[in-house]
């Protein structure tokens, strides 16, 4: 499978000009395409400033929306996945309190 760009921006940029002032990550590979020995280097290259983190959240949002929501006659897949993710996140937050209800003695 060919490597593809893991950069998700607002759809208005598809085919349009991108200002030179825009701070896009230089390495736009997907994390699955980054070799293991390159991961620390890849991590150091990311933008860990508050604005950079905000931009990464924006990119995540546009990636998910472009794939699941910004389609004609889209279904409720996004909302179902969102609900399941929130359920799992809530379980992770509450696990500490559920430890008392464990039945087995040895784990």
């Amino acid at each position: 499978m060919a490597e593809r760009s893991g950069l998700a921006v607002h759809p208005k940029y598809y085919g349009a000009k991108i200002d030179p002032g825009m701070k896009l990550p230089g390495d736009t590979r997907l994390l699955r395409d980054v070799k293991l020995y390159e991961v620390p280097k890849w991590l150091m290259q990311r933008n860990w400033t508050p604005l950079g983190m905000y931009f990464s959240l924006k990119r995540i949002k546009w990636a998910v929306h472009s794939k699941w929501v910004r389609k004609r006659n889209h279904g409720g897949n996004f909302y179902a996945m969102l609900g399941i993710s929130l359920g799992i996140f809530n379980y992770l937050c509450e696990y500490h309190r559920l430890k008392a209800e464990r039945k087995r003695k040895y784990h």
């Binding site: 060919a2 490597e3 593809r4 760009s5 950069l7 921006v9 607002h10 759809p11 208005k12 940029y13 598809y14 085919g15 349009a16 991108i18 200002d19 030179p20 002032g21 825009m22 701070k23 896009l24 230089g26 390495d27 736009t28 590979r29 699955r32 293991l36 020995y37 390159e38 620390p40 280097k41 150091m44 604005l51 794939k67 699941w68 910004r70 389609k71 004609r72 006659n73 889209h74 279904g75 409720g76 897949n77 179902a80 996945m81 399941i84 359920g87 379980y91 696990y95 559920l98 430890k99 209800e101 464990r102 039945k103 087995r104 784990h107």
Partner: protein, 278 residues
């Protein structure tokens, strides 16, 4: 592994003065296939996010909408096959397909689920029964009533658009009628043109006849006046002639006596006798 990590994540010792072969190997090793080329204008990057923004009213964020941007590209049609069982993306299956085949992800979930339950990371509580029933009920409702609910909301949303479109269609039909009527009137006016031309010809003829008539009356009037003068003169001369003739006859009759009548008569007879004898 960690030594390799450290070795490869550190600062590279290869610079532009290194041998060419080493630089080539380095480039091949650290090259990225699909990288968006970033402009190397560092001054522009620095000025785009200024530290102190004085002219905040006219500031434009990089990547903000600009004039002449044009419309966004049209949305693609949603493919329900993108998600298997409605919540698992197909990409996850394709990610494991090269190594594990078609049932890779199912095996993965089964094994991970077994591990979670056996090590009691996922604890079986009454809540888990509620979760399962909730999922079952949601799925049943979605399968049975989902399409009808969706159609209901879409009809409610599109009824407004349909009404507006009908209004527009009615207006368009009325205007089309107007246009047709105007075209008809224009066609009819083509016939009116012929009538108007004939009327113009008639009018011209009538004007000409009137002109000639008036010319004739003018000529006649002048001729009458001149004839009057001529008649008056004639009457004068006739009067004069008549008067003169009467006066002369009177004078002549006065000179005629019976003796002179007899003398003239005898002379006439004598002349006649002479003429008869010849």
């Amino acid at each position: 592994m960690f030594s390799r990590l450290l070795a490869n994540s550190g600062r590279r010792l290869i610079s532009k003065n290194s041998p060419l072969c080493l630089r080539v190997i380095n480039a091949q090793r650290y090259s990225n296939a699909a990288v968006v080329t970033q402009a190397t204008n560092k001054v522009a990057v620095a000025n785009a996010y200024p530290a102190q923004l004085k002219d905040w009213e006219n500031f434009k964020m990089p990547g903000a909408p600009y004039d002449g941007m044009g419309p966004l590209p049209p949305l693609e049609e949603f493919d329900p096959k993108m998600a298997r069982h409605y919540v698992i993306p197909e990409d996850w299956f394709q990610f494991l397909y090269p190594r594990t085949g078609t049932t890779g992800l199912y095996t993965f979930f089964a094994t991970v689920g077994t591990m979670l339950v056996s090590k009691e990371f996922y604890i079986i509580t009454p809540d888990s029964w509620y979760t399962l029933t909730l999922i079952a009920v949601c799925v049943t409702i979605a399968k049975l009533a989902g399409p009808s609910i969706r159609n209901f909301f879409e009809e409610a949303r599109t009824d407004l658009f349909k009404a507006l479109e009908n209004v527009k269609a009615e207006d368009v039909a009325g205007l089309q009628e107007l246009v047709d009527n105007i075209k008809l009137e224009q066609w009819r006016a083509g016939a009116q043109k012929l009538i108007n031309d004939a009327k113009q010809v008639n009018l011209a003829m009538m004007l000409e006849t009137e002109y000639l008539n008036r010319q004739a009356t003018v000529v006649e009037t002048i001729k009458r006046q001149l004839d009057y003068q001529v008649a008056v003169q004639k009457v004068d001369t006739e009067l004069a002639h008549g008067h003169m003739v009467n006066w002369i006859e009177k004078k002549v009759m006065k000179t005629i006596t019976p003796e002179s009548q007899k003398a003239t008569l005898a002379s006439c007879i004598a002349q006649l006798n002479t003429m008869a004898s010849k």
